[in-house]
Symmetry: C2
Subunit: 600 residues, 2 copies
């Protein structure tokens, strides 16, 4: 009888018995966990990186030593194509190694925090009112809550609107959700208290349904931000909403409807009701924050880019049209500046950089990009006007990260090897694929340091434009190419990030080499190949092991602020501490940027 081992892939939660002698990559395929793999299992592309949590596996191969380095090996990182289980194993799949047909951008950094919810539930037993002096229902509830030790001064009006029939239906046994002395929801004793954490991105929305008492995530889900129909970038949406009350209302209603739908789906998945959501934290960039709350945005779109609101807010969910528990609040983390928003604060919270020793650079790369440098205990942030090139916009064959998009690519002996999302024939390039393509063209000398295309058999001229053919015409599908113009677009985008980092370093009086750790977060940052990013000079040239890709850290930050009152306070402390540099006001910026666009 053939030996088999129980292999458990986390956090996707797939497990099953796999025959001995197979690689972890084989096991993952058998169990339906799709790892990214470009080199065909030869151990050279380094994309199928996983982390061993428990169990015996074969010793690291020389390819692994080369691809991962001693530090990662010591932390348990392995290449799935090389490592073979020698017994039952538990393996963590980092978000960046996971190829999902529909990327949800919900996975990422997992940070535990002891649950310390702002809303607490208190179960009490009341008595049916009787003559001669029947107490009002609200008065009896408040008295019982106070007797049970809860500090309680009032009951939300929407809760009051159902209190009498509910108390009678539940035969005077009730659990009250109390937030800062206010009853925001009633339930039966033992009912779960739910929380919803949301990362509201310009392009995508990530939602997490959380059990507030345990801190456990019950369900998570990604969705497109429906405002995309009104403009892909924030400036277009600001222009539409500014001065036009109806348009602003429509933009708000769209995103509120999407959040309500997401809440409904998440609760449906967990077999619960959105009426049980008693608290919520939503983070987004300043524009998404303002559009969600229908705050004025006209002044946000004009220099000096002034937010209407920067402080943290607690707003009744109903005041923005959300249908949660009757008296539920939405907490919004503070914004820092017009283009450094609450999502950046959430990312910094999750990354835990506020207490870092040494010099730490935290970069959030998505449709909008921000960078923060922590040095000598001081935190300074910039917004990098990288534009939407990382999302595939303005790129000849660019596309979003969906099925058919090339997300990993390498050039071997003049031949192109690529991996598409969903494993289907390629139809275009998403951000990480573009980055890989340009990095490999640079390594192969097809691009010079200025970004100019030199000579190569795959370069052709179409309509007067030079382009490198990644995949030829096939079965009626057009060729997929990288044009000279695409290279320029990406240079501007990556140059914006690099220049932002450079300004931060100069302001802190630090050199690149002094950076001890680089944290890369965000939708795009999650999936890029860091070595490709280094090749094109997107980040300072530092050893690979100093980089850490943490996935959707803003979503994690929202979850932390949701389950923990002290984390919520910490987010506010971070926002107060972070200094902001407006790049437009830095005299040397034009020079710095001009240097930063070089492909190094």
């Amino acid at each position: 009888m053939e030996t088999s081992f129980l292999i458990d892939f986390e956090p996707v939660g797939r497990r099953g018995h796999c025959p001995s002698g197979r690689s972890l990559l084989d096991c993952s395929r058998q169990l339906g966990v799709e790892l990214i793999n470009v080199c065909g299992g030869r151990g050279t592309c380094g994309h199928c990186r996983v982390q061993l949590i428990s169990g015996p596996v074969s010793p690291p191969t020389s390819s692994e030593m080369k691809a991962l380095g001693t530090r990662e090996i010591a932390e348990g990182y392995r290449l799935a194509c090389q490592a073979r289980p020698l017994g039952n194993c538990k393996v963590r799949v980092p978000a960046e190694s996971l190829a999902t047909p529909q990327r949800t951008q919900i996975e990422g950094l997992e940070v535990a925090a002891p649950p310390e919810p702002v809303v607490r539930s208190h179960a009490v037993q009341l008595a049916p009112p009787a003559l001669p002096d029947p107490a009002a229902d609200s008065a009896q509830l408040l008295a019982a809550l106070r007797q049970s030790g809860a500090i309680c001064h009032g009951i939300d009006i929407e809760v009051l609107r159902t209190i009498s029939p509910r108390l009678r239906e539940w035969e005077w046994q009730v659990s009250a959700s109390v937030r800062d002395g206010e009853v925001v929801a009633l339930g039966r004793p033992g009912d779960r208290q739910l929380g919803l954490a949301v990362d509201l991105g310009t392009t995508k929305i990530a939602g997490y349904l959380v059990d507030l008492d345990s801190g456990q995530v019950l369900a998570s889900r990604g969705a497109m931000n429906p405002q995309i129909a009104y403009g892909e970038d924030v400036m277009t949406r600001i222009a539409r909403a500014a001065g036009a009350t109806e348009e602003a209302a429509r933009l708000q209603e769209m995103v509120v409807a999407a959040l309500d739908q997401m809440a409904g789906e998440l609760c449906g998945e967990a077999g619960l009701s959105p009426e049980m959501i008693v608290d919520s934290v939503i983070v987004g960039n300043t524009a998404m924050h303002h559009l969600l709350l229908r705050l004025p945005v006209e002044q946000l779109g004009l220099a000096p880019y002034v937010p209407a609101v920067s402080e943290a807010l607690d707003i009744k969910a109903r005041d923005i049209g959300l249908h949660f528990a009757p008296g539920a609040y939405v907490h919004l983390l503070p914004n820092i500046a017009g283009f450094v928003g609450a999502d950046h604060v959430a990312m910094l919270l999750a990354a835990g950089v506020a207490h870092s020793e040494g010099v730490v650079l935290a970069v959030d790369i998505g449709t909008n990009s921000e960078a923060c440098l922590v040095s000598d205990g001081r935190m300074t942030s910039v917004s990098c006007a990288a534009g939407p090139a990382f999302e595939g916009a303005h790129i000849r064959h660019g596309m979003r990260a969906t099925s058919g998009a090339i997300e990993r690519l390498r050039l071997v002996d003049g031949e192109v090897e690529c991996h598409t999302i969903g494993g289907v024939p390629p139809v275009g390039l998403c951000g990480s694929g573009i980055l890989d393509a340009i990095a490999h063209l640079r390594r192969a000398g097809v691009l010079d340091a200025t970004g100019r295309m030199t000579e190569h058999p795959r370069i052709r001229t179409m309509d007067g434009r030079r382009e490198f053919v990644l995949a030829g015409e096939q079965e009626g599908r057009p060729a997929i190419t990288i044009t000279q113009q695409d290279v320029r677009e990406l240079q501007l985008a990556k140059g914006a990030v690099r220049a932002g980092v450079q300004v931060l370093l100069e302001a802190a009086g630090r050199s690149e080499e002094e950076i001890d750790r680089v944290i890369i977060a965000g939708a795009f940052g999650t999936y890029i190949d860091v070595s490709s990013a280094l090749t094109i000079g997107m980040f300072p040239p530092l050893p690979l092991e100093r980089f850490r890709q943490v996935g959707n850290a803003a979503g994690m930050g929202a979850r932390l602020a949701l389950i923990s009152r002290s984390r919520r306070a910490e987010a506010q402390a971070i926002a107060r501490r972070v200094g902001y540099i407006e790049l437009g006001a830095v005299p040397r910026f034009a020079n710095i940027f001009a240097q930063a666009v070089s492909l190094g």
Copy 2:
């Protein structure tokens, strides 16, 4: 040349020159102030009672001494038909002496309180934001407010929704209305801060627009409660709203629309905008309170008549659909029991009985009636199920107090003398007229002590019912009569009040004679002739000078709570202090009530 004097009637504010030698009644007619007068100026009916504020008048006549008593004479009270100005005079017309074509029930007790508003305005000057570090608009405002000494932790979301364009339009000069640390409205420096006080009655609504900083009433107005179309009494409305969400919503929308309209009219009268209403106090009985807030009422309509809510509430005006300043609150005074509501608390607050020495009885008589006995510093209240007879309901020729209603009546030598509202030919009897009619029939012996009709030339039998003809058929109008059944209805109504008082006295261990003062408040109580009420035994037989009619004291209480934070707190202290006796739970009540219906 004939001498003339300047005569000033307050609070109606009519003044003008009147020839010397005329009575104050003549002067009032000349200036369009309609005083009630039944006896034709003979000084016997005592209805044209006014109070001299300043100026010389003729000495009191013997009729005045008889009608008013030495105490009232000492306080400056006079009969307008007897007193003649001897120079320029200022005269106060008590509400009960004023016959107005459309009674607004807004006048009443005037109690001054030092303004101590819950919402305070703070004017600040901000700076236009500029690079390199432009502060968010909200952050700059909060910082400036804190620097000006205001305790301020946040800004209402609806205020935030207009903050940026407003600050720019007003060139960074702004006045913020701050309530308990929250900015609830923005205005230009110098803008008035308005408050709205409302007595929301079952039948009528009285509204007062107040300048919060001075405490001055800028305009006042009365209106019908539009819910009347859904039932004249509270029980009918409770039955409609109970269990039917749509009906409850419609009842609420009706009254909210009426309040919005009233706010608009009051502000229009003062040349201001409802957006400047930054605070509001609304009082009503428990049912009106619950219907306004769309609280559950089903349990309120069934024994033991449990309110959903009894504690004082602060609710955003927008949460009940009112259109005031963006973040304005409505404060609702506490309820005491299912049928002793916030309007009773407001009446007690205005009457100032909480600190009374001796034994004080305060009775609020309207569509619903309540009584409170203050004795040895203890306060106890009952609700008297008097029914709607005082409003003219269930009375053969009963009607509301509008044009053509007989409001004063007396029987002299078998002849009926009457005064109608508007001075037009009579079409029916309103509450005070019914009371007068029955009192005079009793005095004339037409009714015996049990209420049975004896013999009289004006008594006839129609359709088997005995009735006393007050006014015969005339010009096609039917006769106006008092039927035996009408007498019974009024006996039940007045018996309910008297029995309530009796229960209070017994509970306090007091006798009737020990009552030092009787305060009569409320719509109906304002206009009745106290001697008529005493004749029929509606109140304990006490000397007339122990009674005081204070008009709409609930409205005054609402105004006090509006302008003064400490009065608001006092209202809550009163509600906590007041003991409640449910008459249905008093074993001897049936006996007491049976005795109380006697016409004495």
